[in-house]
Amino acid sequence: MRATVVVRPKEGILDPQGEAVLGALRHLDFTVGEVRIGRVIDIELEAGDADSARADVGRMCEQLLANPLIESFEIEVSE
């Protein structure tokens, strides 16, 4: 199984990287609104089915991959 985790700064949490990139994009004459920068984590894992893989990765996120105070996460699982 493969899982892809997207970790994002929660709404309302200051994201200076996103703001810097927003400024740079505007500098390139792109018309853009908010930019937020998170991180993508690809994980290969052994699991019986997609649901148990999702549950395992959820625990990984809660315990390590994301800090629940400032970050939210989304999990996508594939064979």
Binding site: I13, L14, P16, Q17, A20, L64, L65, N67, L69, I70
Partner: protein, 228 residues
Amino acid sequence: MIAVVTFPGSNDDRDAVAALELLGAEARRVWHGDEELPAAGAVVLPGGFSYGDYLRCGAIARFAPVMRAIKAFAERGGLVLGICNGFQILCEAGLLPGVLRPNASLSFVCRDVELVVERADTPFTSRCAPDQRLVIPVKHGEGCYIPPPDLHPEQVVLRYATGANPNGSVDGIAGVVSEAGNVMGLMPHPEHAVDALVGSTDGALVLGSLIDAVRSHTEDLRQLGTLA
């Protein structure tokens, strides 16, 4: 004796030992891979870039074998001080509330900052007076403190003076203590402010307070046994 933990990537561990010794304490470095702590009166987690700051600052260091012993030590009331990266580690380990994010400016800041003492009745600030101004250097890229919504105001020990917030920390928070009051973390580096030759000596008030607390609690600490 005060134990100073060396993680891979710590770089202020020797400075912390030197500062504590300059102030008359016995200090010894402890390796992150050790399962047990020596019989110490307090533990200092120094500054640096443990595990290359991978994932989030301090997120990996909390799995170091010595952290289990430090957690047990803290839960028994042992005094733990985290400076800069040490503060980040204590937050990630759940020994302190909140989290540290990249500086709002995205710039690494390395300069003296003015601090205000919010609480002078902690084991880490007993040599200070309430509202006293301290000048202690900071040097970090990720020191923007985000408190949890339920942070008790009494847990804020140090704040950046008005106009001196170097990193965008919420409410200018520079240092906090645990609810029980025996674990403290701060972004400024008291160990870099103990010798008049290189500037302020206000850091000695923080480290000196810790040394006083260790001395006055020797009896209590002895009852904690080997602190394993």
